[in-house]
Each structure stands twice: as structure tokens, then as C-alpha cells.
Subunit: 199 residues, 2 copies
């Protein structure tokens, strides 16, 4: 069977969505056409508005259609704490934990082999933001990967001489699940980072 050109074009376009392969795209396209055309049109319009209208917060560099994002403009947040992450989704994840300081979003992690140095990921803008002042502590919450660690280490070396408290999120065993399923590196970190219990 050949799908008609408009349906084929829709299936191809749906495949740019992360995690969507050919079969899923076919199911999505035909289900929208069969059952929810107004929803499909709403999605088209939401995509257009977001792709054209959303930029980056001038202060924290997260995605935002306003010059200053909701997190940066919220007057009830702790101005002494800055959490540095490597993507806008991480802002969401950290905020879900109840953290209510400020954020700075890097453009990914350092990747010298790909030509991504400090400038490419926004380190100068981070230093500028910190120079504006008021932070007592900078929490480096880049990913717990080799690249994320290297990026955190690099930034720490720049900030420590300024007399700031610079911290890194803890590594350890995740909540739930079984110890035997935890990888060795994580378990070693969990042991090294053990904390005394008190009565």
C-alpha cells in the first residue's frame, strides 16, 4: 500500500519526535486523521507558536518566551543559591525536588572532540551572571556522566578562587531497587560518601 502524499509527509514529519519510529508515526498519523482532527490542528498551531515564539531567558538561559523566565522573576526564591544545570529539562527536574534557588542553564557539556569549549556551552555568561553577585553557593548539577563531571570540575576550578562555596550533587545508590543491581562505580561513590548515623 502506498499512503497518499499528504499522509506520507505527516508520517515523515512525526519521525523527528524523539523515540518515534516508522510504525509509531504511522499509528499517530492515522489515529489523528481518524479520530481527532481538531486536536491535530491544535497541535500544529501550538508547534508553530512555540517554535517561532520561544527564546531564551536573558538571565538563566533556559527556554522562555519572556526576556526573564518565571524562575528568574519569582521574588520568593533564595538569591544566595545558584544551581548550574546542562539543559532546560534539568531545571524542571531539580525544581520538582523543592529546590527554590536560582538557575543557570549551560548549553550541554564540554566536548573538546566536538569543538565544544567553554564559550560554546556558555561558561562566560555563567561567570557574568555570578559576577552580578549575591550568590554564596554554586551547586554544580551537570549530569553524572564522564562529560558532566569534567564540565563540573572545569567550572569549579574557575569559581573556587573567587571565594564561593562550590558544591557538586552527591553520587550514591538511587532510592528503591536492590543493591546488587547498582553498578560498581556508583556503589564505590556511595561507600566513600557514607554518613554517620546518630541516635
Amino acid at each position: 500500500m502506498s499512503f497518499t502524499p499528504l499522509i506520507r509527509q505527516l508520517i515523515d514529519a512525526l519521525r523527528i519526535l524523539p523515540g518515534v519510529g516508522q510504525k509509531t508515526a504511522q499509528r499517530m498519523a492515522l489515529q489523528l486523521l481518524e479520530r481527532d482532527r481538531s486536536g491535530g490542528l491544535r497541535l500544529a498551531e501550538a508547534l508553530r507558536q512555540a517554535m517561532e515564539g520561544v527564546g531564551y531567558c536573558r538571565q538563566c538561559r533556559t527556554l522562555s518566551e519572556d526576556e526573564i523566565c518565571p524562575q528568574c522573576s519569582d521574588p520568593r526564591r533564595d538569591d544566595s543559591l545558584l544551581c548550574v544545570v546542562q539543559s532546560p529539562l534539568d531545571v524542571f527536574a531539580v525544581d520538582q525536588t523543592g529546590f527554590r534557588g536560582r538557575y543557570f542553564v549551560l548549553k550541554g557539556h564540554l566536548s573538546p572532540l566536538d569543538g565544544l569549549g567553554p564559550e560554546a556551552i556558555g561558561v562566560p555568561e555563567l561567570l557574568e551572571r555570578i559576577a552580578q553577585g549575591g550568590f554564596n553557593e554554586v551547586i554544580l548539577a551537570t549530569n553524572p556522566t564522564v562529560e558532566g563531571e569534567a564540565t563540573a570540575h572545569y567550572i569549579a576550578q574557575l569559581l573556587l578562587p573567587k571565594g564561593l562555596v562550590v558544591s557538586r550533587i552527591a553520587h550514591g545508590v538511587p532510592l528503591g531497587g536492590e543493591l546488587e543491581l547498582v553498578d560498581g562505580g556508583t556503589l564505590a561513590h556511595a561507600l566513600a560518601g557514607r554518613k554517620p548515623l546518630t541516635l
Copy 2:
């Protein structure tokens, strides 16, 4: 964290896609915004064009922006064989097997409790299509579910008096996998439908 209104609107709109929950929608929205805005705009346009431009083939009732779909207009197909399915995706699935007859697409299956009788699912149009003539055999390829079986049975009762060969796709064990994992009903069908082997 509050996403900004345009991002929230996009996340909500993405959730109309089948199988896409809140977390997946967030990841999709932010990944498009961060990495592929032109792809996002292309998807918006493909959605708009398909939702507004795709109708139904006048002959087989599958989704098509042309009055007559590619399957119906293909002169190389066998005009004596009609395969009746219950959704446009099934046309695709059957065609993938190499079947090269004609199709008719019902609007789902009979569902008296939901008020979906023969008219609602397009049985009169099917009878009309068959009356135009030329078919020797009608293959009922509705789903192997209780409702699909009932729909096939109902249609068979209408067609058999017309002297047509009416067939139902075979039930049996699927290829691959292990016999012990096949459900009892399927296995019973496979036994009853056993075929003698020849040298």
C-alpha cells in the same frame, strides 16, 4: 518550575498523540525547541495540511486526499478479490503481505451497546460497492476479537445468499515464539484448522 505558557501549551497539545504521556511530551517539546525548530515547523505544516486536506476514498473509504485512492486506482490489481478491513492501518498491514486485490474499509466494528449498527460502520456502502460487481470472493479481515468476529459473521450472512465466496482470515498460532506461550483459544483454533502435510 513553571514552563512558560507557550511551552506548556505545546506539551499539552503533544499529549493528544497516542502513547504520549506528560513526561514524554515534555521531552519532545524541549528537544524540538533546543535542537530542531525547523523540524518542528515542518511538522506543524504537515499536520495542518493533512488535517485539512485528507478525506476518504469514494470507493474503498480509506483515508486519501484524492477522490480515488492509490489502491483503488491501480490498474494492476485483481478486481475479483475484495478484502474488508476495519481501519486504514489494516489496509497497510494486509498490503504488506503482498495481497494485491481491492479493499473496503469499515468504520470500526459493530458495537450495539455504543449504538454502532451496520449503518454507522458503513455496511450499506460495502453492499453498494459489491453490487457494482466483479468480485468472486470477499475476504473478511476484521480483527480477531469478539467484536471483529461478530462483525464478520454479520456481513457473511448478508453476502452468502448472493452466491459470493465469503472467507474469513485463518486463526492459528503466530509465526515465531513458543507454543506454550500461545493462549488456549488460539491453540484450539490452530488444532481445528490443521492441514494435512504432503510429501
